[in-house]
Symmetry: D2
Subunit: 337 residues, 4 copies
């Protein structure tokens, strides 16, 4: 089987991780090029990972002969345009979330994807590729917990990264678009349904800076889905204990909880603070395997001529929902979808 030749675009923390994974942990794939505006970062990574080609523009990257696919981990504002360019150049595309910043951008991305039905397009909802989430999902689908009653999902970033979050706040789109999109994706995936209403609350409990962008440092919303499932989402940036992503699905016959204790590993410590588990530091630690699995799925889809389960329409839909949650938060009103 010929290896899929991939260029990785964007070398921030997650971009670097994707590049390393493609280089070392993805089978049937080859990292043939790196692209970043920052020449120093680019050289450092390319040297370390022994990558032949290095570019500072997407155009040059796409011009590389024999390139099969790109993995886009660029700033959110560039996603739509880059997706379109890469598809137009005949490349398979894996893009990090969000699909686009506005719903209009998402629609453009949809058009680009639809114009190239021969290409694989995949969006980085990595939680779907975490083994625990997948395990829970299979149980739900198999009917083991009956009909879903309440879906609850938390995304909490550690307080210790708050400065970065504040610096990034102008461009993040806010808590619902930046963090809760993953929970929204999970809610649709687990329930197989869509929201009808949303009420959102929250505020700046520790960091008034977020108020400048009509955002909060901690927010939540309650939605009613078409299948009657209640959906409660919470997203916060001030967790002292670490990176905490947890989900609960209460059904008529059972309840599943994924990562209800955000344990770092299997070590339990008994000391003067009691009996404790240390917590995951960040998304890279918590979702280490998921980041590998999702790109592996992208590569397998290319090799097997399949389309991934997550479509571009899921990306648009999640963005629409997040924007409505944001509007509900800003207005304080109950909104209907």
């Amino acid at each position: 089987m010929r290896k899929v030749r991939i260029a990785s675009v964007g070398l921030g923390r997650l971009g670097l991780r994707h590049a390393e994974n493609i280089s070392d942990r993805i089978k049937n794939a080859e990292l043939v090029a790196l692209c970043d505006l920052d020449k120093k970062k680019l050289d450092e990574a390319a040297d370390r990972l022994n990558v032949g080609h290095r570019f500072t523009s997407l155009e040059e990257t796409l011009a590389l002969p024999d390139l099969d696919a790109v993995v886009l981990v660029s700033p959110s504002g560039l996603h739509t345009r880059q997706i379109a360019a890469a598809l137009a150049a005949g490349k398979h595309v894996f893009s990090e979330k969000p699909l686009g910043i506005t719903v209009a951008e998402c629609k453009e991305a949809e058009t680009a994807v639809e114009s190239r039905p021969d290409k694989v397009f995949m969006l980085g909802f990595m939680r779907r590729f975490d083994e625990s989430y997948r395990y829970a999902w299979r149980k739900v689908k198999a009917g083991e917990i009956g009909k879903p009653i309440l879906f609850r999902s938390y995304s909490q970033d550690p307080e210790k990264f708050i400065e970065g979050a504040i610096a990034f706040a102008a461009h993040s789109g806010g808590q619902f678009l930046d963090m809760a999109v993953h929970d929204i994706d999970l809610a649709r995936w687990f329930t197989g349904s869509e929201p009808e209403t949303v009420y959102a609350v929250g505020g700046c409990y520790a960091h008034p800076e977020f108020g400048r962008w009509k955002d909060g440092d901690n927010v939540s919303c309650l939605m009613k889905f078409r299948n009657d499932c209640m959906v409660f989402l919470f997203a916060g940036r001030t967790a002292p204990h670490g990176y905490n992503v947890e989900t609960e699905i209460i059904g008529t016959k059972g309840t599943l909880r994924i990562a209800s204790v955000p344990q770092k590993n299997l070590v339990e410590i008994l000391d003067s603070s009691g009996v404790r588990r240390e917590c995951s530091e960040n998304f890279l630690e918590r979702f280490d395997s998921a980041y590998v699995n999702e790109v592996q799925e992208f590569v397998d889809c290319i090799n097997e001529g399949r389309k991934p389960e997550v479509s571009v329409h899921d990306g648009t839909r999640v963005s629409e929902i997040a924007h409505t949650c944001k509007a509900a938060f800003e207005t304080g009103e109950l909104l209907r979808f």
Copy 2:
């Protein structure tokens, strides 16, 4: 110190438990009379607990010379009237929740209580007397978790008691009044604040019978409190695993979870189903000590001439809030307090 002479009124499951506790586990108290309409049940209990006086009406009970106090565990619809009668007769009163079925009834009870400032009146919000809840509350008050961001509380009854719940549905007042009142009380107690808005959802996921009373078998609501705290409450009647009352308070400096795993005891079982803990069966098992502690506090207040922390106004306020939650659920609208 003279023992407080108590009559226990109503011998349902919880009434019987209160009677047994007063008889055996409350210090400085004496169970001198029992009262119930059901003569057989009355005799059985009085014989077993060796209680001298037995009555089938509250009037007779109150006429007993030297009686100091009554503990009312009668049907909810009788509470207001019985509270008034007992206070009028000069007795200290401990009443099970709810204070009254309607807010008007609660106001009547307030008047009765206010007319006898020399008497102790206490309402059975037993969770405040559970050691774990108290421990958590002290930490919150001491500022250990900083400013409260999210208060989340669940009350789940086991599916195996569903027939009783359905039979009782016409008179229970619905999920918010019957179950969530405890969570509403906790929310006010932990946050020291009051709700401003509420949005409520839910439905009949397993038992359409509740629809007859515009109720659901599982419901939830999201409230914004005046101090900006988000409050999410969930109440359900279909838990397969047992009786599950859990609460989480997320603050800016830490998070507390009370009973996040509804463990029955300290036994962990490793068998073919994995590693498991069995769960509490019902409120009597889970709150065994709390039921003792609250009546002990009632007795101590009488002996020490103190008033309990929970006032009649808390009872009215919780009922008002529960009624608004119920209205929010029935109308599907966002309501403001």
Copy 3:
């Protein structure tokens, strides 16, 4: 039913607790007298608990007319003599462990008990009255875990009480007699069998002071029981996290663990140290209910003319085993029973 009239002898920490329990939490019992050499402590307790009679010698105590029973919580060296005296005076006797310091003393106690078959004698192996231990025991007896393979039990005292332990070391009899006796009792109770061999190790890991009495601050032993069950016991005095008593029974069909996490209560804390549970402080906190239950059983036995499950012979047997463990530790040899 006439209340059992009890005198409580010895007002150390545990003695005081027993006195309070008899006064307030034991049904069908009355605390009629207190006895302690320390007049000040005696008066303080008697005043607080409103006890009519106070004595500074056991003889005077036993002379109190209408006294039914004594609860002995005196220094270990006095147990045998006091048991004999109380029985000779026709009183029911509850004695704290150990039955005696030497096996010879235990045999004397046996003779005393056997000479008064009309009296209830009970030894304070309180763990048997802890609800979690009882729950586990019933499962074992019901065959739920099959044939016992390994019985493992830990007794760990908090490091913060080490000064007291060192001060008490000359009279404690050492780790096996002072602490492991409870685990030895549990091993016999759960397995229904007796040890055949023992090998013991340990040392002074933090506190060389214990070496003066040929003891260690942490010790362990491995025994083979007649029914082939392996028994591993560990007793330590240097736990930084708190009071930790845990037991595991591995069987052919399942495993039970009692208190494998020494949680203080149901509160879980998420803060900068991770996700944690605080631990029990000491035996009084961990076995609060067990201390009530055991004396309740003593009173019930008296009232119902029954004998307790734990006999004086269990006391002797446990002491014999503990002495053999101690000898194994001191000699470093494998000993056979």
Copy 4:
């Protein structure tokens, strides 16, 4: 960097896993050949993993030009001879445990390894490469738990694999050599010390078949190490709940527990059996990453001209200890090292 060209020898369950890992998950390595006596299994694996060379004898395999290294996952009885042959042929060698069946065989392996100091030799003590074990080990080395007091380690295989274990019993060397070697390795690694004495017990609790080889289905031993650390090991084959490898290190300043609950993943299930976690199925599931990490370390050592932390002498030492444990079990005597 040139990729290390590896041949994988032996295609049982673990051999196949190693082959897959080298093919897909190890960086800077290439799986160039497979070797197994079973032609069908060989072809199936080679086709699936797209491996160019396939052999049915080690001799042919070693003759492959440009081969750098072999990974030996053959039957235990062949290890010594194959290690010697591969080293003699100038190949780097990774061998699964045990180093040899007898201590004499281990010594032969030592000679072979010493004769080729230019080659990397590594033994598959994979637990040292599990992230949780490494994390705990670093804490111990950093002094976070003070001086080690008790090291306890369990290896439990699921009852459902018992037929295979019985079939393999004649050649496994028994519980201590087949299972407890990993725990012995951990004990030496964590404590940095060596055993002085051992007492071992156990039996055939469910499966008398093991008696034929003077073995038990569950065994344990208590050792005293030179640094005074107590070491308790338990190995069993009848766990109903799954694959359970857990370790506890109690120190003077804290305790670490690794995998004290053998959870399969991060999913918690609340259903009619209570609150539960499912357990790992087998070593391949539990140590999935560890198997990758250890071979990665082997490859990195080759590339960087380093020697692995685990030496051939560790292999011999662990075998010697396991044989002494086995002798202690068979004789029932206390043995000294």
